[in-house]
């Protein structure tokens, strides 16, 4: 561990600098740690702040890609089997169904089954009644359903658990640090300057190799070193419904298109996605037309979705390998490692499901550079730190029911205080990701005020800071809800508005 005085510019030497705390960056940190390579991971916000945290939380079986991109599908099924083994506390083996509705092509279905068999994705064809037995909310007029080993995965937890291995072995983790400069000497990258977002303190980190795992932002990072990463940015929007309407992942059995996916996640379920090319990954907006379309498509598979309250919309950016086509879906979901030949390596493309494989290949590349031979063990060693997690059973959480701060996700005061005490916790998001506070039906409408109150009472932040964060949070929350405001959600939103503007008078102040 590093020790330094507050406000002092500090210098840190390491071997490998990883830029980006998404699943890829965190996976690389774990792999380097297990192979004994000193490293430092630098993330602009919190872990999983980019595409990782804004994805649908699906651990692919490969079924979605098997017809168009069998190679990616093969990677998916192999990684799927590995992750459910090493990460049982962040993977929920729900199983998945590909649902064929009236009018969906029978030829695609035959092709799908043939390709799954060839790729090693286990399937079983179910009659409508057997499918309804598994997922009672399914559209009863379905033609048939095909099982696949899809899972639901918690991307925040996944990142956190990967980082745990790194922290245990002395890896340096700097969240809320923005890279402001990549230091080059004699044409080679030798380090970075990173600025702490809240204090403005600048740290200089020196390393032998710099890994750019910046996802949608990797071209910007590469540019700091005078390099280029050709990316195609594809926005995917999702909507969250208030209930867990299905216990299995549901895919539409047809060529990949908008709104063909429904994923259960704890108490809620997500419908996605869309695919729109964007220029700026920092400025994402979900359009009401996307919300309407996603709700319509989800309702086709699960009619109940149409009358269920939508609690939030969000969008992420897929950093796809660039190709000369306008449709993000046509671009390979594969990944690539780019050696800029100046000490910087970029890793682009890929997907959450294959994050571990990407990390393995990247770490292999680093080992080659260092001339070391230690083999990768990330596929065999279970993720560390899982024993501290409650896991999914509700029964375990109910045991600790007293003093609940977040009623939707049953997070108690002790959980919030414990996370608040941890080094690096500065933002409400840090607590949300680590405890699931505010992730349920009310989306933090009630508990955020409480969590920030606890943080300031424990001296973790000043009341001014917590008020500022509360305002930022409410604004961000509102942005996510606004495109889907009708029905019961509109009702809930007006209640939240009356609390923060009416009772707490947070508007009169401005």
């Amino acid at each position: 561990m590093l020790h330094y005085r507050e406000g002092m510019n500090m210098l840190l030497n390491t071997d490998v600098i990883i830029i980006g705390g998404g699943s890829t960056g965190c996976g690389i940190a774990r792999d380097l740690a297990l192979r004994g390579i000193p490293h430092c991971l630098i993330e602009r916000y919190d872990f999983a702040s980019g595409a990782t945290g804004a994805c649908h939380g699906l651990l692919h079986s490969g079924g979605r890609y098997v017809v168009n991109d069998p190679e990616a599908a093969a990677e998916c099924i192999s990684e799927n089997m590995i992750l459910r083994k090493i990460g049982e506390k962040c993977v929920e083996p729900t199983g998945g169904l590909f649902v064929r509705l009236p009018g969906d092509s029978k030829r695609y279905r035959d092709n799908f089954l043939r390709r799954c068999a060839a790729t090693g994705i286990p399937t079983e064809v179910l009659s409508p009644s057997r499918a309804l037995d598994l997922v009672p909310n399914l559209n009863p007029s379905l033609e048939e359903a095909i099982t696949v080993p899809d899972c639901s995965i918690d991307p925040f937890r996944l990142c956190m658990l990967n980082v745990t291995s790194s922290e245990k072995r002395g890896g340096e983790i700097l969240t809320h640090h923005q890279i402001i400069e990549i230091i080059k000497e004699h044409g080679r990258c030798v380090g970075v300057k990173a600025q702490e977002q809240t204090t403005g303190d600048i740290k200089e980190i020196r390393g032998k190799v710099i890994i750019n795992a910046g996802g949608a932002w990797s071209d910007r990072i590469a540019t700091l070193a005078g390099n280029k990463v050709r990316l195609s940015l594809s926005k995917g929007s999702l909507i969250i419904a208030n209930h867990r309407l299905t216990n299995m992942v549901l895919n539409r059995l047809r060529p990949a298109s908008d709104g063909d996916l429904l994923v259960p996640n704890e108490a809620v379920c997500l419908s996605g996605t869309t695919s729109l090319t964007v220029e700026n990954p920092d400025d994402l907006e979900v359009y009401p037309s996307e919300v309407d379309m996603l709700a319509r498509e989800a309702t086709a598979m699960v009619p109940e979705f149409g009358t269920t309250r939508l609690i939030r919309t969000y969008a992420g950016v897929r950093p796809l390998l660039s190709a000369d086509t306008d449709d993000g879906r046509e671009i390979s979901r594969g990944f690539r490692i780019i050696d800029h030949r100046d000490g910087m390596l970029s890793i682009v493309g890929g997907k959450l499901t294959t994050y571990r494989l990407m990390a393995e290949k990247m770490t292999d590349t680093v080992m080659d550079i260092f001339g070391l031979k230690t083999q990768c063990t990330t596929a065999e060693v279970p993720l560390e730190g899982q024993e501290e997690l409650s896991g999914y059973p509700l029964s375990k959480r109910l045991k600790d029911i007293s003093d609940i701060i977040c009623e939707c996700e049953l997070v108690n005061r002790h959980d919030v205080e414990r996370v608040a005490q941890k080094v690096g916790t500065r933002h409400i998001g840090d607590i949300q990701h680590r405890t699931r506070l505010g992730m349920g039906p009310c989306q933090g409408g009630f508990c955020t005020y409480r969590a920030l109150g606890i943080m300031q009472e424990t001296g973790k932040m000043t009341p001014q800071e917590s008020t500022r964060i509360l305002k930022e949070f409410l604004q961000r929350r509102f942005k996510g809800i606004k495109p889907a405001l009708w029905g019961d959600q509109l009702r809930e939103e007006q209640l939240v508005e009356s609390i923060y503007l009416g009772i707490l008078a947070m508007e009169q102040e401005q």
Binding site: Y449, Q456, T462, L485, W486, I499, Y500, L504, Q508
Partner: protein, 398 residues
């Protein structure tokens, strides 16, 4: 099936419905209130916001848009309605303070100041000046109250924490109803070394005998004490609702609680009766006149579908202020979202426009153009329109 006939049947047991019910029963009418459940005023601060307008809320009525419900009521009637409200509450354990011609502020749990007009007695001293000392009392483990939000804004302040086993405001309020608990609390408070000034605590001073509890603590401590309204469930909101409801019952009013309206009977241009259902048991409630006070979206009087807005009981025409994508502005911290203008348009006698019933009146937040958040007229608008609609309803019954 039960059969009962009333002079007036009020649909909705919130602020405006209960005010209409009280106004009518005060005139000797036979009145029934039909409600689906506890109203949203239970979630409020309990304060009566009249209008955000400089210092004198009533003086601002004329500058409101012409179609605002307050304009239909008129300044004089608004003042009369608030007077009636204050009189009713004055007879109970929950008297109100304030002057309808003057706005005042109360302290919020964020340490901000909320502008309002009439306040529960327990908030009489909540108008704080930066130079006076405020001592904040909290309770360990309380979920919805964090004194540092306030002490950080008031340099001249201090705090003490009283230990209770219970964490919710409702549970603490219940304990304050116990004499032994109060004794213990007062003894502890006297033992604290508190500089001269005011003492503030979250709104937990009982639910039934608040007046007595407040007097006792104020006298023992011999200094100004005030409550700070907390997040829902809010004790002052709950007290307000229960008091109005109990007063109505005490005057001989009938209440059908927890009922859904399952059918509506029409005779010519008259609304004849409602059938209420409660777990399979049907009740027919007949009335000479009816008052629709089912509230806006939060209360469920209005419902927004993806591209339309419905009035839930009669399917009355609703004023829809624009297309869905323009219902809300981008900034959460602004009021005046277009959706706030949605609701039922009424004529000068508070009858819904284009209504098939000549004996149906409407009041409260279901009214179009009320924009309660923008104009800061929560509860004030309900009290005034409830009172005014009752007057028109009474004229009609005669």
């Amino acid at each position: 099936m039960n059969r009962t006939t009333y002079d007036a049947v009020i649909l909705g047991g919130g602020m405006s419905g209960l005010m209409a019910a009280l106004a009518l029963i005060g005139k000797g009418k036979r009145v029934a209130v039909v409600s689906k459940g506890d109203p949203v005023c239970c979630l409020s601060t309990g304060c009566i916001d009249v209008l955000l307008h400089e210092n004198n809320p009533l003086a601002g009525i004329d500058s409101l848009p012409e179609n605002h419900p307050y304009r239909l009521v008129g300044e004089e009637t608004i003042a009369a309605s608030l007077e009636m409200f204050t009189e009713i509450m004055g007879e109970t354990q929950f008297p109100y303070r304030g002057d309808t011609g003057t706005n005042r502020t109360i302290l919020t749990p964020m340490g901000t100041k909320k502008i309002t007009c009439l306040v529960p007695e327990t908030m009489e001293f909540a108008d704080c000046h930066p130079d006076e000392y405020i001592h904040i009392i909290s309770f360990n483990n309380i979920k919805d109250f964090y004194p540092s939000y306030i002490t950080s804004r008031y340099q001249n302040s201090g705090r003490s924490t009283f230990n209770t086993e219970v964490a919710s405001t409702a549970a603490i309020a219940e304990r304050f109803e116990e004499e032994a608990f109060r004794g213990e609390f007062i003894a502890w408070l006297k033992g604290q070394d508190i500089p001269d000034g005011k003492i503030a605590l979250p709104a937990v001073l009982g639910t039934r005998t608040t007046g007595k509890i407040y007097d006792e603590i104020s006298q023992e401590l011999a200094r100004p004490i005030f409550e700070i309204p907390t997040l829902p469930p809010s004790m002052p909101g709950l007290r307000l609702f229960r008091t109005l409801k109990n007063t109505f019952l005490g005057m001989g009013g009938s209440i059908y609680w927890g009922r859904d309206i399952s059918s509506v009977e029409k005779l010519g241009a008259q609304l004849e009766a409602l059938t209420l259902s409660n777990q399979g048991r049907a009740t027919r409630v007949q009335g000479k006149a009816f008052v629709l006070a089912t509230g806006s979206f939060v209360s469920g009087g209005l419902y927004a579908a993806m591209d339309s807005i419905e009035e839930r009981v009669f399917g009355l025409p609703v004023h829809i202020p624009e297309e869905r994508e323009h219902w809300f502005k981008d900034n959460f911290f602004t009021t005046g979202h277009a959706i706030e203008r949605a609701g039922i348009e009424v004529d000068s006698s508070f009858r819904p426009i284009d209504s098939p019933y000549e004996n149906l009146f409407a009041c409260g937040s279901i009214l179009a153009f009320s924009e309660v958040m923008k104009y800061g007229c929560g509860h004030g608008m309900a009290v005034a329109t409830g009172f005014a609609a009752a007057q028109k309803c009474e004229e009609y019954i005669q």
